[in-house]
């Protein structure tokens, strides 16, 4: 539906509409101008014809302006009969005009005829012209058109026939008009373009700013208002909104920091107090529970903060990062395995990516019982893959698994806990890096689920 020539930008659309409107307006006024000129020419032509009819040429008199040239001095013909021949083209509107002129001037009019035909069809004109040596040798002469105006004053009286050369109509546009159009275009479209740029440039800056703000909250001071008042007000309103959003986010960060502190301190106190529990297994269970709460708390705080992480991205070697996460789990005697890796440096937020990977591994261990971690690279992206040999996720539930506080089927039992934030957080972190999180069941040859593959895919910048 959309025309490909139609520009998408405000500047382009406005300029194009103005240019089209201007073209139409100039076209109409050009046509009107042409028509009035045409009418004027007709008027002049008929006036000249009438003049010739009523004021026969006097060869001895002083030459009249406009009729000096020999070509115009074809003698008036007096004939008892004016027949219209096949080669004649009769002009009724000119006849009306001529009749009106003659009547206005007080001459009696019985009938008028106006026709055109080529000179070479007109013996009277040829005879008249050939008397003059100038035209005798001219070969182009017979190609001209001749206008014949015939006037009969009395019914059954003689016809007076005047002959006038007709200039052919020139279809080419008058150069003045073309020049005028060009000047108008330059002034109007150019001026408008300048004006529009004054509006659209601040708008473009505002758009860029909003896009950046949506991605990360890193800004350097408010945007300078520019352009006409309307744009200025828009920018000011945006600045106010940005400040408000910033204040809210800051408030949220302070609040989260306080929550973190206020909850972790009593947890730390509890952790110290359980050291006095004599029963070692009991104490370890308590410690594990506290650890769990702390980890969940960390996940919640991270998820709330993931939009605006405090640490800046850093060029990081991903193989070492992957290995170090695997080794953390190895130290906990977990069933993890480091598969194929390769040295790839990428600019990432290290702490966050590490947390995402850690969550995927923890998830694989919890539901699959094992985890195999590998790092792959192709042209566009780096893939950190975590595979387990567990029951996978029922088809159709994969998307739901990524929602906060969702847990897989297996975790409905009490022993595998967890708040179900792990995957949500991993996905949020992958997205924050411009990448994505993919979950997919792996199938064995007999069609049964062989396990789950979770991948963090990051674009290579």
């Amino acid at each position: 539906m959309r025309l490909s020539l139609w520009p998408r930008s405000l500047l382009g659309q406005m300029l194009l509409s103005v240019a089209v409107a201007l073209l139409v307006a100039q076209g109409i006024s050009g046509f009107l101008l042409w028509r009035s000129q045409e009418q004027r020419r007709e008027e002049l032509l008929m006036n000249a014809a009438a003049f010739r009819l009523v004021a026969p040429l006097d060869d001895d008199g002083p030459p009249r302006r406009g009729l000096r040239r020999g070509f115009y001095r074809i003698e008036l013909e007096r004939t008892p009969d004016f027949e219209i021949t096949a080669s004649d083209e009769r002009h009724r509107s000119r006849e009306e005009r001529l009749r009106a002129i003659l009547t206005r001037e007080g001459f009696a009019v019985s009938d008028v005829r106006v026709v055109t035909h080529p000179i070479r069809e007109d013996p009277h004109a040829l005879n008249s012209l050939r008397e003059r040596p100038r035209f005798r040798s001219s070969p182009e002469l017979p190609t001209r058109e001749l206008l014949l105006a015939a006037w009969q004053a009395e019914p059954d009286g003689d016809w007076m026939v005047a002959r006038l050369p007709v200039r052919e109509r020139e279809p080419r546009a008058p150069s003045g008009f073309v020049l005028q159009t060009i000047v108008l275009y330059i002034v109007l479209v150019g001026g408008l373009a300048l004006l529009l740029r004054r509006i659209t440039r601040p708008l473009a800056a505002l758009t860029a700013r909003m896009e950046r703000f949506a991605l990360s909250r890193e800004t350097n001071g408010p945007l300078e208002p520019a352009g006409p008042d309307d744009t200025r007000r828009l920018i000011e309103a945006h600045n106010a909104m940005e400040a408000r959003v910033g204040a809210l986010l800051d408030e949220k960060d302070v609040m989260l920091g306080a929550i973190g502190h206020d909850l972790k301190t009593p947890l730390a106190a509890l952790r110290v107090r359980i050291e006095s529990v004599e029963d070692e297994t009991e104490r370890e269970r308590m410690a594990a529970t506290i650890e769990d709460i702390a980890r969940t708390l960390d996940d919640i705080l991270s998820l709330a903060r993931v939009g605006r992480p405090s640490d800046s991205p850093e060029n990081t070697e991903l193989a070492a990062l992957t290995a170090s996460v695997v080794e953390e789990f190895e130290d906990l005697q977990e069933n993890v395995e480091l598969g194929e890796t390769r040295r790839i440096a990428l600019t990432v937020r290290t702490t966050w990516l590490r947390r995402a990977l850690r969550n995927l591994v923890a998830n694989a261990l919890r539901y699959g019982g094992n985890a195999r971690v590998s790092l792959l690279q192709d042209k566009q992206q780096v893939t950190i893959r975590v595979e387990d040999d567990g029951p996978g996720i029922p088809e159709g539930e994969i998307e739901a698994m990524l929602e906060p506080f969702r847990r897989g089927e297996a975790s409905r039992s009490r022993e595998t806990g967890g708040a179900g934030l792990g995957l949500t957080l991993a996905r949020a972190i992958a997205k924050q890096h411009g990448g994505s999180l993919h979950l997919e069941n792996r199938y064995a040859a007999d069609g049964s689920v062989a396990g789950l593959t979770a991948e963090i895919r990051l674009p290579i910048d």
């Binding site: 009593p266 947890l267 107090r273 070697e317 193989a319 290995a323 170090s324 440096a345």
Partner: protein, 245 residues
């Protein structure tokens, strides 16, 4: 554990009595003499009366916060400080270490780990050594290790994640370049909070470190195995002044 004749004097600064009191009790049971302060101001006045050997400091406190007191302690008193922090994010830790804290633990910490770290920090403090020298970066074959931030970067400048055990191990190699270090010596050098590390663990840590350092960890070039039990760092090490610090 260690039986020291005179108990080590600690100062514990935390505004939360619910944590401070049980922690003080626990540390006392572990053989330390612990004095407590509720605020940074109280801590400052206590410092005048007593002479603690190490300060445990909560970062988030009403009034003057822990970081500010930490800066005061390390700049004027040259006292070792371990920060207790609620947040586990890297920036907090790095800021803490940059302003001179010797170590940090993230709440909720394991009390035994805290004790291990206290001992490790004290051991390092008693060994002494000019701090300016300690701050200098190690450089070898284009790699750089920042001993303060505990950051390792490869020759292309990319950050390479290493655990604290690997950091200590690497630091041990870098302080003794081109010297053969056997497992006992390495254990000795590395021993800090990983006091439970044993022979096999050394081998394990070395292979992990190789995984991160070497192009091909099956044919190590930087950290080579010496027949008869030991490893050697086959690279020249330079100390260079840290940038921007």
């Amino acid at each position: 554990m260690n039986d020291e004749p005179a108990p080590t004097r600690l100062l514990l600064v935390d505004d939360e009595a619910s944590l401070r009191e049980p922690l003080a009790e626990y540390l006392t049971r572990q053989g330390f003499a612990v004095s407590q302060a509720e605020t940074a101001a109280a801590a400052r006045s206590l410092l005048l009366q007593e002479s603690p050997e190490l300060v445990l400091l909560d970062i988030m406190m009403p009034g003057e916060d822990g970081l500010s007191l930490c800066r005061h302690l390390t700049e004027t008193k040259d006292l070792p400080v371990i920060l207790l922090t609620a947040r586990g994010e890297a920036t907090d830790r790095i800021v803490g270490l940059e302003i001179g804290a010797d170590d940090y633990v993230v709440k909720p910490f394991e009390p035994r780990e805290l004790v291990a770290r206290i001992k490790s920090v004290l051991r390092r403090a008693s060994r002494g050594g000019p701090p300016a020298e300690e701050d200098a970066l190690y450089e070898f074959e284009g790699w750089r290790l920042d001993p303060v931030k505990r950051r390792l970067t490869d020759p292309k400048g990319a950050l390479v994640s290493i655990s604290s055990a690997e950091f200590r191990l690497l630091a041990a190699f870098l302080s003794n370049p081109r010297k053969v270090l056997d497992r006992d010596r390495l254990l000795d050098l590395v021993q800090g909070r990983e006091a439970h590390m044993f022979d096999r663990a050394v081998d394990n840590q070395v292979s992990r470190l190789r995984r991160k350092l070497e192009e091909d960890s099956r044919e190590p070039r930087l950290i080579q195995t010496v027949r008869g039990g030991g490893y050697v760092l086959a690279a020249d090490v330079r100390r260079i002044a840290p940038e921007g610090r």
